[in-house]
Each structure stands twice: as structure tokens, then as C-alpha cells.
């Protein structure tokens, strides 16, 4: 209630000073852990002055499942299914990341055919993950249809995975020493067909959202993250590249056979606004999907050479890894997913440390959100594309 309030001071003119006393209070709003825009169980406590956010504090840990501790309790092979469950939108990449770390620590040989297969599934899963990012981002901005369009192609991607490993979401396809199953008859042909169709459908998504006037108005110059800020927060992946830093582990420290394929690394150029805004982060993901199909085609070509025929696994067994440690970071759809394995000669890791990209990417929220509108806050959180399963692990 506003009322005239006597401050008790007398002005030089002799009048008593009266002020109109309007008490306004910033509203503290709890966004999440159950909120449609937080993509899982993220909780952000926003302080808002009307619709303008004045401070934001993210709270994580709502689906912490002790992944690292479990990794120190079960043997290497048995931990693979747990890796599926941290970044559940890119389970194949997680499998590969963990297996590469174990193989590096134990000096385990991997047949080349298995490595090519791993690259294919990594890139295929990157498409799937970016499709979800595309669809849910459209949803965050208020467009429902892109979500279903994205799921249409993802459905095909999942059925391809189902054919090769029997699962549609949590694959557990890679094991230390290789992959457990070779691709079935005709799988590669279907894969190439998928790539062709996907490249065509990609243009549809592009027409639907990328150049949409309203979409551009909502995302340009919103949530700008400069290269310095991004690096200071430990950003990796598409988000970092959107801020104009050309850093992609596939290119910077090639693992598997990434040095044998050619691909571009799209970076944010501030095409419609400023470098590092939400639109750039969105666009880098879109552009990356086309590179994925390009890599897949090259992988299939290499696979079909006679030299890489043969088994895809050395021997599926319980490895005893000699004392030592190894860190392997791979380029997940969301950034650098690192596994550090410290072995003590046993078949169980002595210490397993996982570096999740979403966790680091998320840490910028308190810096970027203040001063934006609540609708922008949703757009920014969406553009970082977090998976809470991997933030908490």
C-alpha cells in the first residue's frame, strides 16, 4: 500500500519532507526442479523484479546417482551400462568415452573395424542429441512443431541403433576392447539412406526455425557469452564454439580415427546478432549435424575396404588393468566428456573421475541470467542444452 510518509526532516524552505512510500519487493521464484523449461531436475532460484531477473542461483544434485562411486565398485565391463545413464541423450558417446579411457589405462588393443563403428555411432548419436536440442529449444521459445519434426528423424536413428545393439536409449554397445556386435546385413546401406534423407530434412528444420523472424528476435543478442567468459567457466563443445573459439577435441586432439576424416568445425560468427548469443549456440548445433552425416559417409567408405574386415572385439573379458592412470576426453554432443581412470592392478578401478560438460556449461548461469527477462532466462538455459543426468551423474 502506498501512502505519504513523513521522513521527519525539515527542508530549507521550511516544509516538512514527505515521500510517497511505495514498497516494492523483488519476487523470489523457484524455477524447478519440476519446471517444463529446465530440461530435467535443475532448480534455479530466480530473484525477479517484475519480469526482470536480478539474480539466479542454480542448484544441482537432484538426480545424483553416485556414478563415480559405482565405477569404483564394479569391474570395468560392468560399469558400461552405468555410463549410458549419465548423458542419456548421447549414451553411445558415453560408452565410447569410458572405454577409450580404460583402453588407454590398460593398453588394450581395439580392432580397427570396431573403431570405425564407434565413430559412426558417435556421430549418429550426436545427430540424435542435437535433434533433441533443436526440438526442445523450439519448445522453449514456444514453437511446438519442431519438436515433433526432430523426433521423426530421431526415431529412425534409434531404430538403426536398435538393429545394431538391440536397445533404443541405453545402448551399452561398446565394451573395453571393441564393440560387442558387428553391424547386421544391410545396416550400412540403411545408414547411408538415413544420411541422405537427413540432409534433405535438415533443410526443412532450417526453414521452420532458423530464419524465422520471431525466432531470431527471441534469440539474437540474448544471453551473450564472450569467449573469455566461456573459457573462464570451462565451457566446451558447441557452446564454446558458438562464442567464437575454435576448439573441438576431434580436431584439436584427434582420438580414434578422426584425423583420417575431413570435416568442418562450425563456430559462432554473430550472423544475426552478437557472437556468442543464443542464436549462435543454436546455429552451431544445426551446422554440426550436417558435418556428422559427412563424417558418417567417410567412415562407411573406410569400413568397406577389405583391410578392416574381421572381428569387432578382441575378447569380451574382465580385464585386470596394470597400475597406472589415464585421462581421455572425447567430444560429446555437449562438450568435453572426460574419464580419468586410476587402476591398481585389479579388475575394478581404484578411482574413476568423470568430467561432465553440462556441469561446467551450467556454471555460467549466475553470470548471464541477471538483467534478462524471465522468457530470456528460459531461452538461455535451453540454448546451453544441458542434460541433468550428466550434470549430477
Amino acid at each position: 500500500m502506498s501512502q505519504l510518509h513523513d521522513t521527519g526532516t525539515i527542508r530549507p524552505t521550511g516544509e516538512r519532507e514527505l515521500v510517497l512510500d511505495v514498497r516494492t519487493q523483488d519476487m523470489e521464484i523457484n524455477m524447478g526442479p519440476q519446471h517444463p523449461a529446465t530440461h530435467g531436475v535443475l532448480r534455479v532460484v530466480l530473484t525477479a523484479d517484475g519480469e526482470v531477473v536480478t539474480s539466479a542461483v542454480p542448484y544441482v544434485g537432484y538426480i545424483h546417482r553416485c556414478a563415480e562411486k559405482i565405477g569404483e565398485s564394479v569391474d570395468y565391463k560392468m560399469f558400461v551400462p552405468y555410463t549410458d545413464r549419465y548423458d542419456y541423450l548421447a549414451a553411445m558417446n558415453n560408452n565410447v568415452g569410458f572405454c577409450l579411457a580404460v583402453e588407454a589405462a590398460g593398453g588394450i588393443e581395439v580392432p580397427p573395424r570396431a573403431t570405425w563403428l564407434r565413430m559412426i555411432i558417435c556421430e549418429l548419436n550426436r545427430i540424435g542429441s542435437h535433434l533433441i536440442a533443436f526440438g526442445t529449444y523450439g519448445m522453449d521459445i514456444g514453437a511446438f512443431t519442431p519438436f515433433l519434426y526432430g523426433f521423426r528423424e530421431r526415431e529412425w536413428m534409434m531404430s538403426l541403433f536398435e538393429k545394431i545393439c538391440g536397445a533404443r536409449l541405453t545402448y551399452s554397445y561398446c565394451y573395453p576392447g571393441g564393440v560387442w556386435n558387428d553391424a547386421p546385413e544391410g545396416w550400412f546401406d540403411e545408414l547411408l539412406r538415413f544420411c541422405d534423407v537427413f540432409d534433405r530434412k535438415w533443410r526443412e528444420y532450417d526453414a521452420l526455425l532458423t530464419r524465422n523472424k520471431i525466432f531470431i528476435e527471441r534469440t539474437r543478442d540474448v544471453g551473450i557469452v564472450t569467449a573469455e567468459q566461456a573459457l573462464a567457466s570451462g565451457w566446451t563443445g558447441p557452446c564454446l564454439r558458438a562464442s567464437g573459439v575454435r576448439f573441438d577435441l576431434r580436431e584439436a586432439q584427434p582420438y580414434m580415427f578422426y584425423d583420417e576424416v575431413s570435416f568442418d568445425v562450425p563456430i559462432g560468427r554473430g550472423e544475426v546478432g552478437t557472437v556468442g548469443d543464443c542464436w549462435d549456440r543454436y546455429w552451431v548445433r544445426m551446422a554440426e549435424m550436417l558435418q556428422c552425416t559427412r563424417i558418417i559417409r567417410q567412415c562407411v567408405e573406410s569400413l568397406r575396404k577389405d583391410t578392416v574386415a574381421g572381428e569387432v572385439k578382441t575378447e569380451m573379458k574382465t580385464y585386470r588393468v596394470a597400475p597406472g592412470d589415464a585421462y581421455v576426453g572425447i567430444e560429446n554432443p555437449r562438450g568435453e566428456l572426460g574419464h580419468w581412470v586410476l587402476a591398481d592392478g585389479n579388475d575394478v578401478a581404484y578411482r574413476l573421475k568423470i568430467r561432465g560438460p553440462s556441469f561446467c556449461n551450467l556454471s555460467i548461469l549466475p553470470e548471464v541470467l541477471p538483467g534478462t527477462l524471465i522468457a530470456d532466462a528460459v531461452a538461455i538455459i535451453g540454448s546451453i542444452d544441458i542434460v541433468l543426468g550428466e550434470v549430477d551423474r
Binding site: 523450439g138 522453449d140 521459445i141 514456444g142 514453437a143 526455425l209 527471441r218 522468457a375 528460459v378
Partner: protein, 362 residues
């Protein structure tokens, strides 16, 4: 009392004169007719929306209950009615329960002034669109009430957005109502439809949307954009922005009270489209059909007029659905700037142009 107000200045109504009924009794009886029609029809519009959305999104949409899923809406209605009516513990109970009634009531009463055929108008009053505007404005009160009474911060934000949006967009709509008044010399929608009869170009030239080029078409586009915002449809669906405000002002509502908001939204969509048809698209008039046709053929003419009117309105409603499933949502500051920087000046220009054209034509 509102009905009494509506009946004041009335010069007739659907049932007036029938069995010696006065204007007030006629209005009350008519209101019950509206209540029946306007609460059953939106159920089928929800079905239409879901089918259209399904088509756009390459999925079938509801197709199990009845032929083409037509009875789905009825099943949903029954479900909503038998659901528990939850009132949150810390809400202000009375306001919480009153709000949906105000929102739906305002929209339904406004239906009374919408003519579906030459004499198919419940309350035939000189105040016409003026009263419609007044009753539609009630919705803002109901929505703020709902947002405040829910004792939920997301609901309050939704209610405030809605208040800001509705009050702002009433400005261009109000100005265009004035323009219609200037052009037709009446605020009664039925008079406006009569004013568009028998134009040039096979009758099309009489429609306001084709008159005073370019001001007629501009006025129509401005009006259509404004009614999108007024009925909270995409891209102006901020008050209930699902991804931002959970469900906005009706987050805490369930069961039959929730369905009131729902019905009101769909009823308003049809009502506002109907008004746009009456003002700009010639009402029930069709090309090559003389205006006297509808009046000279008794009940058949009336029914044909109603069919034409509903069909035209449905085209506009369809475009609303189409937009909703295609476009993203704009931001609250952009909503405001669209209204005050673009629509309002354009509406003013159309009003001035209309005054000029009417003067020179006369």
C-alpha cells in the same frame, strides 16, 4: 444487471415479440441459448485444433473415440467434469472459485451481440460492438483474479502478462471499432453486414477489406493481429506460456474450472473471428448473392446465412490454429512494442483515412 444494460438501447432480439416477450426476457432466454451453443461448439473446436495440429506435425491426432475421433471432445469434457475440483490450501478460496466464471461469463455474454444471420442476433442493440468490447474486457479481471488468488508466483506473472496484453491490445481493437462505426454509421454488427451488401466486383467490392485500398486491408490485418493477442493465441500466448510460466494463470486449476478457461479461450477465438468477419469480410454475404437473398427466403435464408457466417469465421480460426503450430512465441516487451509502435499508429491512420473517405464519398 449486465443483461439489463444490454437490453437497454435494444431495438429487438431473437425472441422479442414471440409470445409477447419483452427485451429483458428475450435477452435472458437468448443468453441460455448462447450458453448451450457456445459451450458445446468449442469442444468440437478443440477437436479441430488437435486434428489440425496432428496434420501439421505428421501424426494422426485423436481418432479413436467416434468417427474421426469426433466424440473425443465429449469424452474429455466428461473427464474434466468428474475430476476432483482442487482448490489450493493457501489460495483465497472465493476469488479462486469466482475467476473462471467471470472469464467464461464475459465471453458468453459478448456472444449475444454477434449476429449469425439477418435476424439471428440475441440482443439487437445500437451499442453492439461497444458492449462486446466491454464484456471482453471482463476477461482481464477474471484472469488477474485467477492469477492472484492461486497464490502461485507463476500464476501471478501469467495474470500480469495477461492484464498488460489485453489492456494494450484493446487500444487498436477499440480504434478499429471506431473506424467501423465511422464507415458504417452504426455500432451494430448486423448493420455493418448490411452495409457491405451488393458491392462492385460481384459483391466483393462492398466488403471493407477490399474498400479504401490500402487502408481496408491494413485495417483487417491489424485487427486480425490484435484479436490473436486478445484471444491469447500464438504467437501471443504469453499468459499461458507453457515453457516459461508452467501454465500461467491457470496452473493451479483443475477439473471443471480449468475447462471454463479452456472453453472461454475457444469461444473467444470464434467470437473475435466472427466480429472480424462481420466488420471486414462482409458477414454472411457471398459474392454473386444479392443482399436481399438472405432476408427474403425466411428460415432457409437465415440458416444459409448462419452457415456462411460460421464457415467464414472458421477459416479465420483455422489460420489461428495454423499459426499456433508454426510460430514461436514472442517476448513480453516485443508484445508491447508490436502493439504500441506498429498496430496502434496503423489503426489510427486507418481511422483517419476512413473519416476522409466517408466524407469524400458522401
Amino acid at each position: 444487471m449486465t443483461l439489463a444494460l444490454a437490453a437497454q438501447g435494444a431495438r429487438g432480439g431473437l425472441f422479442e415479440g414471440l409470445w409477447g416477450m419483452g427485451p429483458l426476457v428475450s435477452a435472458i432466454l437468448g443468453f441460455f441459448v448462447v450458453l448451450g451453443v457456445a459451450s458445446v461448439l468449442p469442444m468440437f473446436w478443440t477437436w479441430a485444433e488437435r486434428r489440425v495440429a496432428g496434420r501439421i506435425q505428421q501424426r494422426p491426432g485423436p481418432n479413436r473415440v467416434g468417427p474421426f475421433g469426433l466424440i473425443q471432445a465429449l469424452a474429455d469434457g466428461v473427464k474434466l467434469m468428474v475430476k476432483e475440483d482442487i482448490v489450493p490450501a493457501d489460495s483465497s478460496r472465493f476469488l479462486f472459485m469466482l475467476a473462471p466464471a467471470i472469464v467464461l461469463g464475459g465471453t458468453l455474454v459478448a456472444f449475444g451481440m454477434l449476429p449469425l444471420s439477418p435476424s439471428g442476433i440475441i440482443v439487437d442493440t445500437h451499442l453492439g460492438i461497444y458492449l462486446i468490447g466491454a464484456f471482453l474486457a471482463l476477461e482481464a479481471i477474471g484472469v488477474i483474479m485467477a492469477g492472484w488468488a492461486s497464490n502461485n508466483k507463476w500464476s501471478i506473472l501469467g495474470g500480469m502478462r495477461e492484464a498488460a496484453q489485453l489492456v494494450s491490445y484493446e487500444v487498436p481493437i477499440g480504434i478499429l471499432f471506431l473506424m467501423a462505426g465511422v464507415v458504417y454509421g452504426s455500432l451494430n454488427l448486423a448493420d455493418m453486414v448490411h452495409g457491405q451488401e451488393d458491392g462492385a466486383f460481384f459483391g466483393l467490392g462492398g466488403w471493407l477489406v477490399f474498400r479504401m485500398v490500402p487502408f481496408g486491408p491494413i485495417a483487417f490485418l491489424v485487427f486480425y493481429t490484435a484479436i490473436l493477442a486478445e484471444s491469447k493465441r500464438a504467437p501471443f500466448d504469453l499468459p499461458e506460456a507453457e515453457s516459461e510460466l508452467v501454465s500461467g494463470f491457470h496452473t493451479e486449476y483443475s477439473g471443471i474450472r480449468f475447462s471454463f478457461f479452456f472453453l472461454s479461450e475457444y469461444a473467444a477465438m470464434f467470437l473475435l473471428s466472427g466480429i472480424a468477419v462481420c466488420i471486414f469480410l462482409g458477414g454472411w454475404n457471398l459474392p454473386l448473392v444479392p443482399g436481399s437473398f438472405w432476408r427474403d427466403h425466411g428460415i432457409v435464408g437465415e440458416l444459409l446465412a448462419a452457415a456462411s457466417m460460421i464457415l467464414k469465421s472458421f477459416v479465420l480460426v483455422f489460420v489461428m490454429l495454423w499459426l499456433r503450430w508454426t510460430l514461436p512465441r514472442i517476448r513480453i516487451d516485443q508484445v508491447m512494442s508490436v502493439c504500441y509502435k506498429y498496430l496502434t499508429p496503423l489503426a489510427f491512420a486507418c481511422l483517419l483515412a476512413a473519416a476522409f473517405f466517408v466524407e469524400t464519398e458522401a
